[in-house]
Amino acid sequence: MKRIMIDPAKCDGCKNCSVACMEAHRTDGGSGVYTLDLTDPNNISRNRIVSDGKGGYDPIFCRHCDVPDCAGACMSGALVKNMENGLVEYDEKKCAACYMCVMSCRYGVPAISPDRKRMIKCDFCAHLEEGPACVRACPKGAIEVKEVGEWSDM
């Protein structure tokens, strides 16, 4: 199974990853960052780059945890850890927008949709053959998709 591995020391806070995430998940039919509305709350990025206050940056990305708090809290079956590919997958149609996933993620990753009917988190760009857009957009190699093998803990 794969995980986006993070090396915060390499991150210089350019936020290309965030823009790439927004572009990869935009729903207005357009394409290309020049037409991407960065202020539309429907286009929020699923990853965040936060300054550490000392000149460095801390990338906050969904870890698709081995034992995911979010899926453990899900009462609708919308969030499920896929044991084949390791991803925590989300089925919008099943989601009842109770937001216990938001409450339960200890890293504060899940967000809510502007219409309050869905949750929003990393889907590993399942719709893109070439894999997560954020990783491809990073000019520093701070985030990389790596094979992490078996789970450390069930």
């Binding site: 550490d52 906050i60 009462m75 990753v109 899940p110």
Partner: protein, 409 residues
């Protein structure tokens, strides 16, 4: 071949069944449940509001039992456990032998001892699909609904029925709605939203008696103020009690809930309990967790169940979202900080440099870490200047072993 029996098909029972199958590919696993369909009680309002059908409120795939090779005996009530002979009795004289048994019977709604309320056929709970079905049927005959209690369950029922044009009156003993989760301001926002959708609230008022017709049905609720409120039926949402009867009848130790040790074992050998019936917590994530931990212990993997932190909830009514964690009401010796803008309301209760309560009304995105900080008593004395803007970056660390995160700062 080892035989595992699980009584109950709610969050704990189903999580336990799936976990057992993971660890015991060969075992015979049987789930016995009163319910016909596996359903999430947290979605009952979606069913009652006609937003989803029975299948739509399931929380596992329809082929869950087939896929995991688990036998599901539905629509049956377990009546007694012979703990010496290791057998569960159910229905009319049927029996099911076990090597390991899990009791996951959940909790049932509670009717306070108000005259007529316990006997009246038109008083319903709102816990199980069968309750929602009864309410749905009653709603076909009359639209005036009296709800006792304005907690999450009462408001869930109210929101569903409002959408269908009911005339809803809600009596709440406390002075505000959702008293356990809200503060006065957050409560007022929700109250207004419900009132805008046609609900009437009676706050600080209880039901004290009723007028019944010849069939014993309640036609008017008499309030503690003496006022009479005509209604077609009543929904009780004034709290739940762990379902412990089968344990009590079988000589298994129970107080408010079924007594369990740190491995979720009951007083009877090879009998475990998980979920709301233990009385340890009443929220979905904790029930799932208990089901998994009990199952691992049943499978021979010794694991200590970490005490749950039950003071947590989220709500989402009419698109108004709220996160409420910790004890917002316990402010003695604490500092209460409020951040209030036209679009956002946040409140933090801080004691000795640690958060003890946190509430967000509005955009609750990315707020999960506050539960972690409260639950684990993380020292925040050097971060009090940006308490409302905390992110994981404030605690950033990476688990080098697997690339996950770890709290480090």
């Amino acid at each position: 071949m080892e035989r595992y029996v699980i009584i109950g098909a709610g969050a704990a029972g189903i999580a336990a069944a799936a976990t057992l199958r993971d660890f015991k590919p060969e075992a015979v696993i049987t789930v016995l449940s009163i319910d016909e369909h596996v359903h999430s009680r947290c979605m009952l309002h979606k069913y009652l509001g006609r937003e989803r059908d029975v299948e739509g409120i399931g929380f596992v795939a329809p082929d869950f039992f087939d896929k995991h090779d688990i036998t599901h005996i539905s629509c049956e009530t377990a009546t007694r456990i012979d703990t010496a002979g290791k057998t569960v009795y159910f229905g009319e004289g049927y029996s099911l032998p076990y090597d390991k048994l899990l009791i996951a019977t959940g909790a049932g709604f509670f009717i306070p001892p108000i005259p007529h309320f316990r006997e009246a056929p038109n008083v319903f709970g709102f816990r199980d699909l069968s309750d929602a079905m009864k309410i749905d049927e009653a709603f076909g005959k009359g639209k005036r609904v009296f709800i006792v209690g304005s907690g999450l369950v009462g408001l869930d029922a109210a929101s569903a029925l409002c959408e269908r044009g009911a005339e809803v009156t809600i009596a709440e003993m406390a002075e505000r709605v959702m008293p356990l989760q809200t503060d006065d301001y957050a409560a007022s926002v929700y109250q207004k939203a419900f009132e805008d959708h046609g609900c009437r609230f009676l706050l600080g008022i209880g039901a004290s008696d009723a007028v019944v017709d010849g069939a014993g049905n309640i036609t008017e609720v008499i309030l503690s103020t003496g006022e009479h409120v005509p209604c077609d039926f009543v929904i009780m949402a004034a709290g739940v009690r762990p379902r412990i009867q089968i344990a009590v009848d079988s000589g298994i130790a129970a107080e408010r809930g079924i007594t369990v040790d740190e491995h979720l074992r009951t007083s009877a050998p090879d009998v475990y309990a998980a979920g709301d019936c233990t009385g340890l917590s009443g929220v979905w994530p904790d029930a799932m967790d208990q089901g998994k931990v009990a199952a691992r212990n049943m499978a021979g993997i010794e694991e200590v169940y970490e005490k749950p932190y039950p003071f947590k909830n989220t709500s989402n009514f009419f698109g108004i979202t709220m996160l409420s964690v910790g004890r917002l009401d316990q402010t003695e010796g604490a500092e209460v900080l409020v951040h209030h803008t036209p679009t956002e309301y946040k409140k933090a209760v801080v004691k000795d440099g640690k958060l003890t309560g946190y509430l967000v009304l509005g955009n609750i995105s990315n707020t999960g870490l506050y539960l972690y900080l409260i639950r684990n008593g993380v020292d925040l004395s050097d971060k009090l200047d940006h308490l409302f803007q905390l992110t994981f970056a404030d605690f950033y660390g990476i688990n080098e072993k697997n690339g996950e995160y770890a709290y480090a700062r």
